[in-house]
């Protein structure tokens, strides 16, 4: 199995999730994160104290899928999350050795 970890723009989340369902993805986990990258942040000024906030709000999606699905999932996320503007985010794929569904104890493929 593969863990597909994608960092995307927050407003794309719902769209991405909807794009994954038809592929057979039944679950995923989302985290609010802050991203630093080429996309410039904003300068905030509080009574003369300037803070360049280089961190921008992003959303991280983690979804574990069977090996054979990984490419399709990456593709789907990439297509849906793309706006073409800087800061669209990244997708990383990691190998997962084991998976387990807590409720049933099912493992690996059937745990997803």
């Amino acid at each position: 199995m593969k863990l597909v970890m994608a960092v995307i723009k927050p407003f794309k989340l719902d769209e991405v999730r909807e794009a994954l369902t038809p592929l057979g993805v039944q679950g995923l986990t989302v985290t609010e994160v802050k991203g630093f990258g080429r996309q410039k942040g904003q300068t905030e000024i509080y009574r003369g104290a300037e803070y360049h906030v280089s961190f921008l709000p992003k959303v991280k999606i983690e979804v574990t899928v069977p090996d054979e699905l990984a490419d399709a999932v990456v593709e789907a996320i990439a297509t849906t999350a793309r706006t073409g503007k800087i800061g669209d985010g990244k997708i990383f794929v990691l190998d997962v050795e084991r998976a387990l569904r807590i409720r049933t104890g099912e493992t690996d493929g059937s745990a997803l």
Binding site: F11, D14, Q42, T43, E44, I45, Y46, V53, K85
Partner: protein, 455 residues
Amino acid sequence: MTGKDLTTVKRIFARCGLAAATLMLAAMPAMAEDAKVDTGDAAWMLTSTALVLMMTVPGVALFYAGMVRKKNVLATMMQSFFITALVTVIWMVAGYSIAFGEGGTYSAYVGDFSKVLLSGLSENWDKPFTLGTGDGAVAFTIPESVFLMFQMTFAIITAALITGAVADRMKFSALVMFVTLWSLLVYSPIAHWVWHPNGWLFGLGALDFAGGTVVHINAGVAGLVAAIVLGKRVGYGTENMAPFNLGLAVIGASLLWVGWFGFNAGSAGSSGGGRAGMAMLVTQIAAGGAVLSWTFAEWMIKGKPSVLGAISGAVAGLVAITPAAGFVLPGAALIIGLVAGLAGLWGATALKHALGYDDSLDAFGVHGICGIVGALLVGFLSYGPLSATTAAPDGSPGGMEQFIKQCIAVGATIVFTAVATFIILKITDVVIGLRVSEEEEREGLDVTMHGERIN
């Protein structure tokens, strides 16, 4: 001022805001040089002024900020807060004069520049104030400084209410320009129509105790026009626009409720007699009734009674009782409240969806619709003795005749504010541009307009 003049005053004045003042007249010595401010009335009007200011900051600021997404919370608060300052200065410079100046040839429609920069206030600053002159004069037991401060807080909140319709997408600079023009060219004239003895709606005898037309219909319709001109928010209907922190909205609605006692009972112009007390009581009952009807209706229709529904219901009831507060009995107030709760729910859901505009926080759906409901219902439900005077012992009992006057007042306000607001928006659009860029909207106004964010 002769006895007959006084009688005339009483008859007319009893029909509109700050009406209780007339009840005092009977008890007062002739309006001689040495008239004194009534300390009790002054105490209540000073208090009411503080309460109405609290309705805007932090009331409206929180009510609205609690309903937007996280990225726009501060910008939304900023709109109400800045408007408070802006309209304060506008009112002092010219707004008060346009609204409450005597006026010249067109004195039925607009005041004049005689009170620009509050000129004239340094005389008689410690004496009771008489609004207008001659036959139409209305005598108060409080000084002009208090009268104009109380009125200022109404001018402020009216402008602030509009921001609910344009939340999340209007440029701050455009808002500043728009409010400046709107306050002078729309708010002040309508206030003159309704609350100055020379105003044509005042003369007509339309009932508007505390601002159903001037404040709520006015702000609601202006908001509707602005929402339509600005267009829908990016992602409206597809993205999740759930409120970030309804807790703020609950605080805001609560302070609106409390402050509304100043708004309505303060519009009695006096703590004495019984009008302020009755106004406060019916305000409470209407608010309570509307919370119940909105909540129970939503419970039946949607399956759950929501907090947002309850607080929206409170505002709906408070809006609807505003034009009626000094004129109706508790039973009528309960009816107004129950109807307002349902009307507000309809306005903020069915109507909005049917017509398809994006009135972000339902400035029209709640203030516009319920303002109209209240202004019309008082035509039927007003209780004569509450507005009675020695000259007109029957007061203005509800009935078809009164209802028609109400329709005229409501209609005139809607048409004028709709047209004038549209023109001002178009001018602002040409000069500054009304709307932020899509990217700024996505990123949120907090950071893009004001360089700040909440964490």
